[in-house]
């Protein structure tokens, strides 16, 4: 009996770490690696995501070349842009310094002959790290007060691979808001998985992607 008990304890001692390991990665073979999933200086325009956002409307437009930005553009490689107090620079998207963050700022301006309205924009980059099944990923965004078009609807979305993890819509006009989500990955996504950030139907406003992080495991 004693021998059986010992055997049983030894078996348990052997198995418990395996069980814990299995729990911590929820079926994945590699431990989770919390940290940033995106680098906001690395976004580039993309035509992907139609299955999530639908096709761009016929009147969609976005001037992707920065205008009157000689002082700032090209953006410094891998760094955020710190605009002065009265910048003339107009850019549909820019990695902007905000406090200690580098945010992806999406600016829009109303239509004129030099500054076309940007009302449909999808940006892409490969993920910085792998996501394991069961990992929690937090997406944090913001929009400023939205004033136009009225009536209208603004849409912010974030896609990881084949999953739209943030799908935020709001009727215009509206006050500022911080759309965010914590998404639990149902499966593994390798590093380099395409990520999409999408904004549409916006007026003369400001949207931003603040950060996207794989969160550390929640402690009991």
């Amino acid at each position: 009996m004693v021998g059986g008990d010992m055997l049983s304890r030894s078996f348990a001692a052997l198995c418990l770490p395996l069980v814990l390991c299995s729990c911590s990665s929820s079926g994945g073979s590699v431990a989770s690696n919390p940290g940033p999933l995106v680098d906001n200086t690395q976004w580039f325009p993309s035509n992907k995501g139609e299955e999530f956002f639908g096709p761009p409307p016929d009147d969609s437009a976005c001037e992707l070349t920065p205008i009157d930005c000689e002082e700032y553009f090209p953006w410094p490689e891998g760094e955020c842009v710190q605009f002065g107090p009265n910048p003339s620079c107009v850019a549909a998207y820019v990695p902007e310094c905000l406090d200690s963050f580098t945010v992806l700022a999406v600016y829009t301006r109303m239509r004129d002959d030099r500054v076309p309205l940007c009302n449909w924009l999808t940006l892409e980059q490969p993920s910085l790290r792998a996501i394991r099944a069961g990992d929690r990923v937090e997406v944090r965004a913001r929009h400023s007060q939205l004033t136009a078009p009225v009536p209208g609807e603004a849409h912010i979305a974030f896609v990881i691979g084949d999953e739209q993890v943030l799908d935020y819509s709001v009727t215009i006009p509206t006050d500022f808001e911080f759309p965010d989500v914590v998404w639990a990955a149902p499966k593994d996504y390798p590093g380099g998985t395409p990520l999409l950030f999408h904004v549409d139907n916006h007026g003369q406003n400001e949207y931003m992607l603040i950060e996207v992080n794989v969160l550390p495991e929640a402690r009991e």
Binding site: G84, P85, N86, S88, D99, D113, R140, Q204, E211
Partner: protein, 379 residues
Amino acid sequence: MPMRLIALSTILGLLLIACGESSTPGFSETAGAGGNAGGGGSGEFTTTLSHTYEPQMLERAEETSDVCQSWVLGNEEPLYVRKVRQTNEGGWHHSNWFFVPEATYRPNEQLEGPDAQLEGTWRCSDRGFSEYIAAAAGGVFFAQSTQALDELQAFPDGAALEIPPRSVIVGSTHLLNITAGPLETAMTMEVEAVPAEEVQIRLTPFSFFIDDLAIPPAVDGVPTRSRTSMMCDLTESFQELLGKDEVDYNIYYVLGHYHQWGSAFNLSFVQEDGSVQTVFDIKNKIGEPIGSIIDPPMNNRGAPRLRSECGFINNTDETLRRGFQYGEMCDFLAYTDSNLKIGASGVNNQAMGVDEDGIAVFETDCGPVIGFPAYPDER
């Protein structure tokens, strides 16, 4: 003269009417067409006065407005301010600071309780704070650029802003917490003041506001671009108030002001022959233009007229008039060495057609130019 004082006070006040969180009067380092960033004077900073405002607490994803903070200077004599520097611990989206007499924003015991102090943190609405009243009662002191963690405002050597005795610095603050957790953050403000005998130039304000705005609406959903201007001849003011036949002054600081449909601002000297010299120019800037020091200061080179103009992009179905939250403005404040305080309004709006870029052009007449000598001993 009393009528003039009242009228000017009103005009100065109207110029800077608060517009909720959207107006940003004050100073900053970047100049417009007139010059370089305002690091005027030597590069050193000698702290004469310093104050750290109470920390503000923000929850995650919280954005605050209607929070005012005050600093009682307790000065028995005028202060001559050459430089102001702010540093903060993050989350300060922007803030606008004014100097006002101590009596302007006393605690409201009914709303704030018996322990409220003149100095501290309070809800702006509890004390009836508006930038309109603050600018009229004292003047603009400092404007923090959007989300700037540290910032210096400096006038050129010899020039200073005079802060009257027993003044209070009051700021309306707009904070925005983009961190993933709560945020506790404070601003520290340092002031470099100089003795009166070191001040050669006491700066005085000019302000124009276009009262008769009529910004055309969008057509079939397409936003309409327009611009509206006013221009005033200052010859009479210099003759009558200073006894000078020539209009001669320098501009040290300019703040243009419009709201969310504004996209551009221009301030220019206009000569007798119609030639134009730009003092300050903002373009492609939707909402919240920020003031700038003009360094080196810009001389009018004898130009008798001063012209201000705003560009607008109206995406609404309505003609926009002068107004606060749902209206527009086209105002400016400039600090000069003219020894004159001047205020004027644009009236009698006239459509002038469309320019070569397809922009609808409107001009207003200069209403009565109201002014008085700022320092009679300096004529």
